[in-house]
């Protein structure tokens, strides 16, 4: 039997790692991965709460999150490709034409 808070803390840590990844990674794709990591953290929270509340809404939500994540992945990667085409780089720090 596992205390709910353990799950929540775990998901929090995952989310935090995602945020950290977004901030410190330079490769666009890796950054995108960190976002996925954040989403996973959220999902865990949903599922944990669902288990606690014995309500399936959480599961449904996770399902939709996954769908959205998939869609985002498609679009996002397309965008990354487009950027790569114009800039020939995947380093975020080089993608700063627009500033100030």
């Amino acid at each position: 039997m596992v205390p709910l808070s353990y799950y929540l803390v775990l998901s929090a840590i995952l989310f935090a790692c995602g945020v950290a990844g977004f901030l410190i990674k330079r490769n666009i794709i890796t950054i995108f991965l960190s976002i996925e990591l954040m989403l996973n953290g959220v999902n865990l929270t949903f599922v944990a709460f669902a288990a606690q509340l014995k309500s399936l809404d959480g599961h449904i939500f996770v399902f939709f999150v996954m769908v959205v994540a998939a869609a985002e992945a498609a679009v996002g990667l397309a965008i990354i490709i487009a950027v790569f085409r114009t800039r020939e780089t995947l380093n975020v720090d080089r993608v700063n034409l627009l500033k100030l």
Binding site: L8, F15, F32, I35, G41, F61, V68, A71, G76, L98
Partner: protein, 477 residues
């Protein structure tokens, strides 16, 4: 089984989706090199049909699909706003697409689908649906932002918008998750019933996180940083859309999340965010040379004014916010429409220097832009004036004197940079090398609509305001 009336309650969305699909079917049938006008026409018809559907909808208020959406004056109001925005944007895009050669099919399709998302955002009362609708509108705008595929700026702005957007979405989602945990439901009114009495710490935290997500969408400080870059890089008509449509929708969501659920403890959060947005937005705009960027900063500031109305909370505050959203949409779409026309191919002419002497080269265009700018300043006989006026009077009615003072001073400072544009247009020696094409029909109609809207809201705001008041009541029923 699901009653028929439920379908009426999603009729506008359905209609728009149908037209969107229609466009995608028609596009390949058109000759490769031939004019893509028909698609635009379909899109226009689509949005008009959507308007008609919305009108039809007003007959049958109520919730549908197991309380996932609720059609009330509030949502209908935003339906109208969003649809009109879409209509004007489509009209504006007519020439633009050809000038920039952007693929019309996807463009119009995405606008229509995005609009569907926005409309759903305003009518959804189930966080799942809100989330998905949000994503629809966001993703379609991400793509639209990147549609000037030859321009590195366009791609970059698209990337920035996308990455940061999903980043913020994650926060929003986390908030939702915690709400779910705290209340056991994701239905707005369900949540409301749970949040009676002493809400748990979890609820506070959840509200905070959702505010982060939505604050990003409405570009309120400190979640505004993306705005200038994205607006600068994206195609002007798309900016017209994304600076008004998703924003209005996101504000609608924010209204629902904060007020319909009776969420706790957001006041100071909103207060600070409002002050920051107004100040940072206006200060930042003071020295901008690029008109799109300038308007981006101004839109941040306007988000701030809107949040002032939020802080005012009461009925008056909500209705003021709603009215503000409407009039802001009217004037901003108009302004960007002018910008997009003047930018011409490759968006070459977007700096203030390019606007020098516009008053001589194209008096009409300049005059129209002037009206929109004056409205953004908040000069009488324009919607912007009344909008600000209501917002601040609402704030004062709930005794937010400090916030009001900060607000009015900000609006006075803001006058400077809008005035700068006017000055360049009328008081600087003209630049001959920035030609102005004659105003095409589509753009003309689009401008006319937003111009009329702006003036109408400025002279006879009575009816719209009453409607806003009703919406506010409907929201917190």
């Amino acid at each position: 089984m699901i009653p028929a009336v439920d379908y009426i309650r999603i009729l506008p969305e359905v209609v728009l989706s149908v037209f969107g699909i229609l466009i995608m079917i028609v596009e390949p049938l058109l000759p490769e090199q031939g004019p893509k006008k028909p698609l635009g026409v379909i899109a226009i018809i689509g949005s008009l049909a959507g308007l008609a559907a919305t009108v039809y909808q007003t007959g049958s208020y109520g919730s549908a699909f197991y309380n996932t959406i609720s059609v009330d004056t509030f949502s209908v109001f935003f339906h109208f706003v969003v649809l009109l925005i879409a209509l004007v944007v489509i009209l504006t895009s007519f020439e633009y697409l050809e000038v920039q050669n952007i693929r019309s099919g996807e463009y119009y399709g995405l606008i229509l689908f995005g609009t569907v998302g926005m409309m759903l955002m305003s009518s959804a009362v189930e966080l799942v649906l809100i989330f998905i609708a949000l994503e629809i509108s966001s993703i379609s705008t991400y793509i639209l932002a990147g549609m000037r595929r030859r321009a590195a700026e366009s791609a970059e702005s698209s990337l920035k918008y996308f990455l940061l957007g999903s980043f913020a979405t994650a926060f929003f989602l986390y908030g939702v998750a915690l709400v779910f945990g705290a209340t056991g439901t994701t239905n707005v009114y369900g949540i409301a019933s749970y949040l009676q009495g002493q809400p748990s710490t979890l609820a506070y935290l959840a509200v905070g996180l959702m505010f982060v997500g939505l604050g990003f969408k409405v570009a309120s400080a400190p979640f505004h940083v993306w705005t200038p870059d994205v607006y600068e890089g994206s195609p002007a008509p798309v900016v017209a859309l994304m600076s008004t449509g998703p924003k209005a929708a996101a504000f609608a969501v924010l209204l629902r999340v904060l007020f319909a659920t009776g969420a706790p403890g957001w006041f100071w959060m909103v207060w600070v965010s409002a002050v920051l947005s107004m100040t940072l937005g206006n200060i930042g705009a003071l020295v901008q040379q690029n008109v799109k960027r300038l308007l981006a900063y101004s839109s941040i500031a306007h988000a701030g004014y809107l949040l002032v109305a939020f802080a005012a909370a009461k009925q008056v505050g909500i209705s003021a916010a709603i009215f503000y959203a409407a009039s802001y949409a009217a004037m901003n779409v108009g302004a960007f429409a002018v910008v997009s026309h003047f930018a011409s191919s490759g968006e070459r002419y977007v700096t203030l220097d390019d606007y020098a002497g516009l008053g001589r080269r194209s008096p009409l265009l300049a005059a129209i832009l002037t009206v929109f700018l004056l409205s953004l300043i908040g000069i009488p006989v324009t919607g912007g004036f009344f909008a600000k006026f209501y917002v601040f009077s609402a704030a004062l009615q709930s005794n937010l004197i400090g916030l009001t003072i900060i607000g009015v001073i900000n609006s006075a400072i803001a006058a400077y940079y809008y005035l700068r544009v006017i000055i360049f247009m009328y008081m600087r020696d003209e630049r001959v090398d920035a030609p102005v094409a004659r105003i095409p029909a589509g753009l003309g109609i689009g401008l006319a609509i937003s111009l009329i809207a702006t003036i109408y809201l400025g002279v006879l705001p009575g009816r719209v305001l009453d409607y806003a008041v009703q919406s506010a009541q409907a929201l917190v029923k």
